[in-house]
Each structure stands twice: as structure tokens, then as C-alpha cells.
């Protein structure tokens, strides 16, 4: 009676029919999967149609906005519904001598439906990823090969300036030249500045010629300007910076209009004196490490030390605690087992909170800096090592203990000869493994203010200084790789 009409229940709701047939797991799975996807689909549709209030309105609007996605989801829901009915029919009428088997496509449709919804929820956009790849190229190149920013050289500046009077009055005289010093004079030394007319079009001012001598020969020379209120700027003509190359004798001459500058009325008493300045900058001396490079190196040292300190402190606290969390040590008494369960519980809770979360708390507690990072890593290390150590204690072989006891050894002798030798390997192995983890964690713990290289890395990223950030990334990568190798090597020899 029931099996015959189970498909009617499946028309009502996918999964119900299977439940009626006694296929509880199958039914619950289909029903919960269906309800989940209906809820997710409605959520995404209503996000596409925020102003609509009715179900029909929501569906119509989201069909307009995302026809592909919306129709595909609706199609899959309908398909799932129909396949659910067919599945029920197949389950109700198994072939003769066959095992009861439903439709595989029923669940495949559900998986596809959830995948499509997941694709939309996580905003996957492959075309954008491909299209905007070039945007990533510049920063990526800088991060991948940042070493130009790792070095710098001292610079030497050669400069000389000449006075120019704006408006009317006595023209300033030629500056006095000193032998061996760079020298610049202007011709004429008086004129009117560039202006904007009523339509906002620039009107060039008096063209002056700057003559320079005594500069470094064949070198690029920048022209700077300082207006009467002291603003200094590099001169541009047609948007380009004005530069000139000196000749073989270190001389040049260049023409420019007196540039436009805004001088508030009454800001300057007396004559409006401008300065034209020629300047050469060139690197001198040997290559030396740049400021970001030195900063990153010192932060990297800080990072490694943080990891070490957290490991040592973690070991010191974890060893005694691990005995309290070892079943074979604590069993026997009611109090012992309570302590065992309490320790296990605390360790599991502390361990499940990531070091970076602990760092956020520690920063509030002791302020920004490496100490906060050490606190965070130590807390997490104690819990992790405590658990690993206690498992090592639980795992020791009772045989050697028995054998040493049988010789007439005292309790202390038994511990020294049978217990400790068995624990040395796992203890060392776990501690080195933890050191490895701690250094790795301390590279990123700075991102929440916990000190170390992560702190400066994030700073450089925010300043869009991808080269400096690249140097930090390189240091982190190399340190982690070396550490990984070293710790694996040591552990291999220990065990």
C-alpha cells in the first residue's frame, strides 16, 4: 500500500518519498540538501532583486539581471524534483532479484545545484581574472625580483641659483661666480610670470635664458624654481620636467618662461624675487644596503628570535603540564583523572585558537611589538606541545620499565633507565617541529602588531612599496625553506 504511493510524497517534497519507503539516510540527505539549496537560491535571488517584495517579483527581476544563473538554478531545482519522484518509483519497484537501488543522477543533480550556487556566492569571476592579469604583473614583478631596492648609493648634489624679479623695479645683478663652484645666471633678470587668462588658458610669461657653468660635464641637469613665498618645484614645460644635458665643459643654457605661481595678495612685502635653480644629482661611492633592506634584516632576526623564545618558553611550561595530561600518569585516582580531563580540555581549547588571534589579544595586553608575538606563540606552543608530549608519555613501552624493575632498580633508577630514554626522541622531535612552526607563525604574526617581519611587510604593502615588500617575502621564504630542511634533517637523525 505505502510503497505504491510513495511517489506522491516525493511530489510534495523531494526526499519525503524515500523517507516513507524507510530509506531514512537517503531521504534525510535529499530533503536537507533540497531545503539548503532552496534557501541559498532564494537568498541569492533576493540579493539580485533588493526592492522586490513578492516571490514572483524577485524571480522576474533576478531573471532580468542574471538570466543564465537564475534559469540554470531553477532548471536544476525542477530536475532534482522530477528525479526525486523517479528515484522513489525505482526504489518502490525493484527489479526481480535485484538490490534496491535508486538513481545516481538524483544526487548528482543536487551536487551540481550546490556547486552552481557556491560559484555565485563566492563571486567567482574567471573572465575578470584573465582580463586583469596585467594589473598584477607590475607588483608581481617587483615582488619576484626586488633586489634593485635592496641596495643604494650615496648621492652628491651640485646646484646653483639665480635671482629673477617679477614685475617692475631694479633688475637683480648677476650672481658672483666662484672658481670651482657651479654657477648660474639668468637673462633677462626681470619679467612677468606666466598667467591664466579669463578663459583659463595659459599665457606664457617672459622667456628667460639660464646660463650655467662649472657643472659636471655631460650630465643630466634638472631645473627647479622657487617662488617669492618659498614654494619650490621642478619646472615643467608641456607637462614634461625640464632637463638639460651639460656639454663637455660642464656648461649649458636653457630657455624657459617664468612659471606660473599663485601668490596671495599681501603675502610678500617688497619686490617679488624668484629663484631659478639648476641641480645635478649623481650617485657616488660604493653600493650599500638600502634602508628597507636593513630594516627587513633586523626584523627578520627579531622574527627568528621570537620563534626561538616562544619555543623555549613553551617547552619549559609544557613539560610539567604534559605529565598532568598523560592518562597513564594520572590514572588510578578520581582526582588524577579529573585533572587529566581538565588539562586535556584546556589544551584543546587553547590549541584551537590560532596564534594570530592570541596575538590580537596580546597586543591589547602588552602593546605592539615582539613581546606580544612571543606571548601569543608561547600560549599556543604550550597547548600544542603539552598535547604532543602527553601523547608521547602515554605511548611509552611498558616492557623496558618492567625489565629494569625486575633487576631490583629503585623507582628513580627505573625512570632514568627506562622512562626518560624512551621520551628523549619524541620530545626533541616535537620541540624542533614546534620551533619550525613558531618561526613560520612569527613571520605573519606581525601583521596584527605582534612584531617581526610581518609588521614591516604589511607596512610596505600598504605603502605600495612592492619592492621592499618583495625583499621581505624573499627573506621569509628562504628562512622557512631553510628551517623546514634543517628541522626535518635533525628530526630524522633523532628518531
Amino acid at each position: 500500500m505505502m510503497p505504491k504511493f510513495a511517489w506522491i510524497f516525493s511530489i510534495l517534497l523531494p526526499g519525503l518519498g524515500q523517507l516513507v519507503l524507510g530509506q531514512v539516510q537517503r531521504g534525510v540527505f535529499a530533503l536537507s540538501g533540497f531545503l539548503t539549496s532552496i534557501a541559498l537560491a532564494y537568498w541569492r535571488f533576493s540579493l539580485l532583486a533588493p526592492r522586490e517584495t513578492t516571490l514572483i517579483g524577485v524571480l522576474r527581476r533576478s531573471l532580468e539581471r542574471r538570466p543564465g544563473f537564475t534559469s540554470f538554478v531553477l532548471l536544476l531545482i525542477a530536475l532534482f524534483w522530477i528525479l526525486g519522484i523517479l528515484d522513489t518509483l525505482k526504489l518502490a519497484h525493484p527489479g526481480p532479484g535485484k538490490k534496491v537501488r535508486g538513481l545516481l543522477s538524483f544526487f548528482f543533480t543536487l551536487s551540481l545545484l550546490l556547486f552552481v550556487l557556491g560559484w555565485q556566492i563566492s563571486e567567482i569571476d574567471v573572465s575578470r581574472m584573465v582580463k586583469d592579469f596585467n594589473k598584477a604583473m607590475t607588483p608581481l614583478n617587483r615582488v619576484l625580483w626586488p633586489w634593485k631596492a635592496a641596495v643604494t648609493r650615496d648621492t652628491r648634489v651640485l646646484s646653483a641659483r639665480a635671482e629673477i624679479l617679477e614685475g617692475e623695479g631694479t633688475p637683480p645683478g648677476k650672481p658672483v661666480s666662484k672658481p670651482g663652484q657651479p654657477y648660474v645666471y639668468a637673462e633677462p633678470t626681470v619679467g612677468i610670470a606666466s598667467k591664466l587668462d579669463e578663459k583659463g588658458q595659459p599665457v606664457p610669461g617672459t622667456i628667460i635664458t639660464l646660463h650655467g657653468s662649472g657643472f659636471e660635464p655631460n650630465t643630466k641637469t634638472d631645473i627647479w624654481w622657487e617662488d617669492p613665498i618659498g614654494s619650490r618645484f621642478q619646472v615643467r614645460i608641456g607637462g614634461e620636467y625640464l632637463t638639460v644635458i651639460t656639454d663637455a665643459e660642464g656648461k649649458f643654457s636653457v630657455q624657459l618662461p617664468i612659471p606660473y605661481s599663485i601668490i596671495p595678495p599681501g603675502a610678500v612685502k617688497g619686490p617679488l624675487i624668484h629663484y631659478a635653480e639648476a641641480q645635478q644629482i649623481f650617485p657616488v661611492g660604493p653600493l650599500k644596503p638600502s634602508t628597507p633592506f636593513l630594516e627587513i634584516v633586523s626584523r627578520m632576526v627579531e622574527t627568528i628570535v621570537m620563534g626561538l623564545m616562544a619555543t623555549v618558553l613553551g617547552i619549559l611550561f609544557a613539560i610539567p603540564l604534559s605529565f598532568l595530561a598523560a592518562r597513564n600518569i594520572m590514572h588510578g585516582s578520581w582526582i588524577g583523572m579529573s585533572i587529566y580531563y581538565l588539562m586535556r580540555f584546556i589544551m584543546n581549547v587553547v590549541r584551537s585558537i590560532e596564534p594570530i588571534i592570541w596575538a590580537v589579544i596580546a597586543v591589547v595586553w602588552v602593546g605592539l611589538g615582539p613581546f606580544a608575538g612571543v606571548i601569543a606563540l608561547t600560549i599556543h606552543s604550550i597547548a600544542s606541545l603539552g598535547k604532543l608530549y602527553s601523547e608521547a608519555i602515554e605511548g611509552i613501552d611498558h616492557g623496558p620499565i618492567e625489565a629494569v624493575q625486575a633487576t631490583g632498580a629503585t623507582k628513580l633508577q627505573t625512570i632514568m633507565f627506562a622512562v626518560i630514554p624512551q621520551m628523549v626522541s619524541p620530545f626533541i622531535s616535537f620541540s624542533i617541529y614546534r620551533w619550525d612552526i613558531n618561526v613560520r607563525m612569527s613571520t605573519i604574526i606581525g601583521m596584527v602588531g605582534g612584531g617581526g617581519v610581518g609588521f614591516v611587510l604589511l607596512q610596505y604593502v600598504r605603502l605600495l612599496d612592492y619592492q621592499a615588500a618583495g625583499i621581505a617575502v624573499w627573506f621569509i621564504a628562504v628562512t622557512v625553506a631553510v628551517l623546514d630542511y634543517v628541522s626535518a634533517e635533525i628530526r630524522e637523525r633523532m628518531i
Binding site: 616492557g399 618492567e402 624493575q405 625486575a406 633487576t407 631490583g408 629503585t410 633508577q413 632514568m416 630514554p421
Partner: protein
């Protein structure tokens, strides 16, 4: 002389491992304990030196009750009982030499040995013990680098360090192949014959029992069900064997190892 009287062991979970077991062992005997796994062989051997606390009964060692001994005298009693285990029970991380020296722990001062240091005399004894089992050149290797048979020989050397009067061997050859089994039992027989050390050994294979035992006791379900002399064992039939081992038991050892007693 060792006398076991009405020995009973009940574990905390209620398992009765030994039930009213009584027997005695004369000095110089090679006593073999047979029985199925779980029959109480291991418990019996461990009760003798109180690695397991007996629940009832008495164990008299040269007239002294072992079950009543305080920790200090128990330490002295344990020195007389060297022990050899199925799983060898060496400390894998320590050197062979240090494992052997551990046999001396019942003699040396507790404080000194905590730093893994021993007397000159102890080192000399260790050398001698290792020479006896033919492993002198392995002294500085780590115990885990040795093969199973070698590890068991180190186990015997460790027991010898106690200068024992009795060796308790708990299935010493169950983890070894038949050839090694004869070699290990050969060492025990040699110690028994040449140095007069009493051996109490649990074994599985009837063929080995017939070859080495001077007397046999059989345990089944924690009770003593068989006691026989050397001659009794030689004549022991498969039916008697099954009485100890239960109906499903078969001879396992290949005929080539039966030592000419195939006709049994």
C-alpha cells in the same frame, strides 16, 4: 629452593589469572611452564619477583616469603631473579653496554647510577656477560640496531649481570624463528648446566619443551593441570598435549626441530 603455595591473582577488572597454584622448584632445575595464551604463564612468572602483586598465597624463596618483603628486601630478592622477556624489552635508545649494565641497578648506589655511571667492576662484568653471549663487538651499538636474536642475547646478558640464582624467561623465543629459538634456549641450557642457575621458562612448542625441560608444569585457565618429569614429557602424547592446550591445539613446530622425538 622456590616454593609457590596457593598462589592466586585476580586483576582489578575481575579476571582470575591464577587460581590456587602450588608447586616447588629445586635448585638447578630447568622448569618449563606450558599453556595457552592467557593461561596465566606470564602472570605466574611476574608474581615470583612481584612485578605483579599476588592477590593471595605465598612464595617462599629459600624460606623467605617474597609476598611479605618490604621494598628494601624486595630489591635484594629481585637481584636473585634474572628475567628474560618475549619482546626482549631493551631500552632501544641506550647502547648495548648500557642495557647490560642496567642489570646491575639492583646492586649499585642509586645516586651514582642516575648519571649513567657504574664501577670499574661493573664494566668488567658487562664485558664478561657480553662475551658469554658472543656480542662483545656490539657493545657500543644502540640496542635497536640489533636483530631480534641479538637483542634477546643482550637480554640474557642483562639478566646475567644480576648474578642471578634463577632466570625467569617469559616465552623467550616466541618472537624468534626456530633456528634462533634453539640458539637462545641453548644459552639458557648452558647457564643451567654449567653455572647451576635454575631456569623457569614458559614455552609454546612441545618439541622445544621435550628438548630442554627437566620438568614441566601446565597451566590452563589459571590452574595447574599438569606436572611431569623429563621422562613424562618425552612420552607425552598429542592427547595429553591437548589436555593442556585445549582441543584446538596442534603441534606447530616442523618435524626437523623435534630433536628425534617425532615418534611421540
Amino acid at each position: 629452593m622456590l616454593e609457590v603455595q596457593h598462589l592466586t591473582k585476580v586483576y582489578p577488572d575481575g579476571t582470575v589469572a591464577l587460581k590456587d597454584v602450588s608447586f616447588s622448584v629445586q635448585d638447578g632445575e630447568f622448569l618449563v611452564v606450558i599453556g595457552l595464551s592467557g593461561a596465566g604463564k606470564s602472570t605466574l612468572l611476574r608474581c615470583i619477583n612481584r612485578l605483579i602483586e599476588p592477590s593471595g598465597g605465598k612464595i617462599l624463596w629459600n624460606g623467605i616469603d617474597v609476598t611479605e618483603a618490604d621494598p628494601k628486601s624486595l630489591r635484594k630478592i629481585r637481584r636473585d631473579f634474572g628475567m628474560v622477556f618475549q619482546q626482549f624489552n631493551l631500552v632501544h635508545r641506550l647502547s648495548v653496554q648500557m642495557n647490560v649494565l642496567a642489570g646491575r641497578l639492583g646492586y649499585v648506589s642509586p645516586t651514582k647510577s642516575l648519571l649513567y655511571r657504574f664501577n670499574e667492576e661493573d664494566y668488567r662484568l658487562a664485558e664478561e656477560a657480553l662475551r658469554k653471549v658472543g656480542l662483545l663487538e656490539m657493545a657500543y651499538k644502540r640496542a635497536r640496531e640489533l636483530s631480534g636474536g641479538q637483542q634477546q642475547r643482550v637480554g640474557i646478558a642483562r639478566a646475567l649481570m644480576q648474578q642471578p640464582k634463577v632466570i625467569l624467561a617469559d616465552e623467550p623465543v616466541a618472537s624468534l624463528d626456530p633456528v634462533l629459538a634453539h640458539s637462545i634456549l641453548g644459552y639458557l641450557e648452558q647457564l643451567n648446566k654449567e653455572e647451576g642457575i635454575t631456569v623457569i621458562c614458559s614455552l609454546h612448542y612441545l618439541d622445544l619443551v621435550q628438548r630442554y625441560a627437566s620438568r614441566v608444569i601446565g597451566l590452563r585457565g589459571g590452574q595447574l593441570v599438569y606436572e611431569g618429569s623429563r621422562e613424562d614429557i618425552r612420552r607425552m602424547t598429542d592427547d595429553q598435549f591437548k589436555e593442556v592446550y585445549g582441543e584446538e591445539a596442534e603441534r606447530i613446530a616442523p618435524p626437523s626441530l623435534a630433536g628425534g622425538t617425532n615418534d611421540a
